[in-house]
Assembly symmetry: C2
Homo-oligomer: 153 residues x 2
């Protein structure tokens, strides 16, 4: 038996998990943007205010990365995860601004065992992040690959 | 007139742009993963080799972020970009490993002016990254918002 809490068998269609919270701060927004997405609205408060985003806003990819960290801390690092073949969609619904506090949930939409690699199962999840006003800011649907409990043993 | 080279009008359906190259190194893979996606195969060569990825491999989100940097350097920072409402899909087709050199292209699939905000146009793009063996490792379809040349003036 694997010591991990979450193997393929442990995901239940329709079940939801809490993603905890993440405070979004200006220094992290600017550090991420400087390396990967140096558009003015992600680097500077005044430029953000002048843009349609209305303030210093996280790169959409930074929001994805913060989401991934929340997913890791919620269950992924305690799972038999073997990565993911891709993302069905991402919606950046509202700006994620410096000072926001994100919270979120992930819901299991569907699961199936791989035909070509029966030691693996595919779990499709829909995740959503909210800001401190309860507004939905981010939605993602993706598929993760997890070893079965037997294969992980 | 905006000083930017790329406004909404400058995108042509069917046109392709080169994304240059990016060398993927172990230190950057580990740094990104430590902050956002601390799964063993993104942190450690031996764990990567033991996984189905076959080596120390970039987090899929890190590949997205490296892609974004390539897009920024290719044209986005010299454009009237106003961000993006989301991603249609991402496919992580093959592992991106330490030592790989990525190259890529972006192709304009479609464009249309926003009905609710006529100063903005929506440009849908398909991007693809390849490794040094010419294998396609990453595919992404997304929509960017760009000010018209007049609105950016």
């Amino acid at each position: 038996m694997t010591a991990k809490t979450w193997a393929y068998e442990d995901f239940v269609e329709g079940a939801s998990l809490d993603l905890g919270t993440k405070e979004v701060n200006a220094a992290e927004i600017i550090a991420f943007a400087s390396e990967f997405d140096a558009q003015p609205m992600h680097l500077d408060e005044a430029a953000g205010k002048a843009s349609i985003l209305g303030g210093l806003s996280a790169s959409g990819w930074h929001t994805c990365a913060m989401f991934m960290r929340m997913l890791c801390d919620a269950f992924l690092l305690d799972s038999t995860s073997q990565g993911s073949p891709g993302i069905e969609h991402v919606k950046w619904k509202k700006p994620v601004l410096a000072g926001d506090t994100l919270s979120g949930t992930v819901t299991v939409l569907a699961k199936r065992q791989s035909k070509s690699r029966p030691q693996l199962g595919l779990v499709t999840m829909r995740s959503e992040l909210f800001n401190q006003r309860g507004e939905s800011v981010f939605e993602l649907e993706n598929t993760g690959m997890f070893l079965t409990r037997e294969a992980a043993a």
